[in-house]
């Protein structure tokens, strides 16, 4: 049937042309930058030898925590186009799973993080089987309902401390070094999350997810098992959010429903992806850095009142007016993306 593939010389010419295009894409990328960034961040705690940079360490750690979550969210929300406002449920599942094991058996949450992620991922898979049957606004509402259900569940479950939560033991390092295990855990998790999103972006799975986000009926008739793709994307994104939650609980030294199951956490995840650029690799990083930076600057200059919230909101609005596809997405569309931010 495929006898029309005979024109071998034409195909060779096309192949050369295509390789040229690939090289062109490569030249627009600076692969060294993420690696240098990672190395810098890994070496940064050495500053503690010359002074007290606990605040800087905290900020980077906090940003990295959100990068893990936003990159995870990006797999479902950015690639597959299913906007979930309920991903903090997996933050809570991861946090409580690892936190309870720490409280009961004294096993570090950092060691338990992959397992906590897996538990969150399985929960995500099962929840996805139910909620991913609807799309668009219905899916968003179902994800909000999920948060409410889990909030009620966690607040009334006495084994895990109910609404009062559970206090976790702090580690025994001195004040100067106490943050470092969590710092490294989050940096490594963030790097891992970004690497996985990169791999997904360039796989058949990623292509299928993008097709689903554009037109699900077309994707289905193109031979893509849309239900499985979506549920798998949901599970992988829940895995990362759960991992972040596991370590976050120990870092705060207590777990309580109103740390994990507040809408601010999930909205932050979503906003970071949208501001940075949904469906891009660098988007969640740019978004997390921008939103946390705005927050800190406005709290420092305007004080911790409602004004800083207003100012942050205003900046985000302006960002989205000028960068409707997010910073990375819009710049990439107009071919203005600096090479160091092209991680796709």
């Amino acid at each position: 049937m495929m006898s029309f593939l005979d024109a071998q010389d034409i195909i060779t010419a096309r192949r050369t042309y295509n390789e040229g295009l690939t090289q062109q894409v490569d030249s627009r990328r600076a692969a060294w930058f993420p690696l240098v960034l990672l190395a810098t961040l890994l070496a940064l705690p050495a500053l503690q030898f010359v002074g007290n940079y606990n605040y800087v360490i905290h900020l980077i750690l906090y940003t990295a925590c959100y990068v893990v979550m936003a990159a995870g969210w990006n797999i479902l929300g950015g690639f597959a186009g299913y906007v979930s406002l309920g991903h903090n449920v997996f933050f809570a599942i991861g946090g409580y799973f690892a936190g309870m094991i720490l409280a009961r058996y004294g096993i570090s949450t950092i060691a338990m993080a992959p397992l906590a992620g897996l538990v969150a991922g399985i929960a995500g898979y099962l929840i996805g089987l139910i909620t991913l049957r609807v799309r668009g606004p219905s899916f968003i509402i179902s994800s909000l309902a999920l948060v409410m259900i889990f909030r009620i569940l966690f607040e009334n479950w006495h084994f895990i401390g109910g609404a009062a939560g559970v206090a976790l033991p702090a580690n025994e390092l001195s004040v100067k070094w106490t943050k470092l295990p969590y710092y490294y855990a989050f940096i490594i998790m963030a790097a891992f999350a970004l690497w996985v999103t990169y791999r997904i972006r360039h796989s058949k799975f990623g292509l299928g997810l993008r097709a689903i986000s554009k037109d699900e009926i077309k994707a289905e008739s193109a031979g893509i098992d849309t239900r499985f793709y979506k549920v798998l994307a949901f599970a992988i994104s829940a895995f990362f959010v759960g991992m972040a939650g596991a370590v976050w609980g120990e870092y705060l030294t207590y777990i309580r429903p109103n740390i994990f199951l507040v809408i601010l956490v999930s909205v932050n995840m979503v906003l970071m992806c949208i501001i940075g650029g949904k469906g891009t690799i660098a988007g969640p990083v740019v978004g997390a850095v921008l939103i946390i930076a705005f927050n800190e600057v406005f709290v420092a200059t305007l004080g911790a009142s409602e004004i800083n919230v207003l100012a942050t909101g205003l900046v985000m609005m302006l960002t989205l007016i000028f960068f409707p596809l997010g910073v990375v997405g819009t710049l990439a569309k107009h071919n203005r993306l600096p090479r160091i931010l092209n991680w796709d």
Partner: protein, 248 residues
Amino acid sequence: MLDVKGLSKNFGGIKAVDNCSFVAEAGLITALIGPNGAGKTTAFNCISRTMVPTLGEVWLDGERIDQLRPHRITARGLSRTFQISRNLADMSVLENVICQSKIRGWRDLFKPAMSSDEIDKALGILEFLGITRIAHEDGSNLSYGQKKLMDLAALLMSDPKIILLDEPAGGVNPTLLEEIIGHIRKLNEQGLTVLIVEHNMDLIMRLSHRVVVMSQGQVIAEGTPEEVQNDPIVLDAYLGGDQENGNG
């Protein structure tokens, strides 16, 4: 090859497809025609299971497919296009086409999105259809006709045994129409079975081996183009018979 038996689809009280049976024989071009609202597209949707039929069976090569999910039907060798070209915006034509290549098992999921073999095959198909120059265009920047051709290219990527074309010539200019007719004929000569829904009678009469006429959800006539053209029942359905003056 494709055997539709007693297919029905109700929307509430409306019978869009009503106990409809026909056969698309292997190696032939079968056309499904009928006035607007006859249920042709609904029948198509039920065959490819974009819609779930209310009643009836669909058999492909001796295998019942009306209970399979759409991607499984595509994997069995039945691919379709849509009346209003559905394309994936923000993805290049090449990606749109390669999206439709077969995936075997979950291991394939984590292979590179576009292997060089697939790119070669996709470019070969685009070459065949004469649209290689738009391979790297964004799917949403195409003209209506180019979208139709891209749909056809994507279809071929999945190595189908039978293709269902929903108005492949709808809204395209006469030059392109000739081109599309040529492509369909060539594919058919290479052994591909074609089932086609079309309003353009000229195209149907020139291209198809067999014609199935639907009206109000039912098959009212079947035969060669010449037979159907002279069938009083068909003329009735199209022209509205004696009672009312038709709007075709």
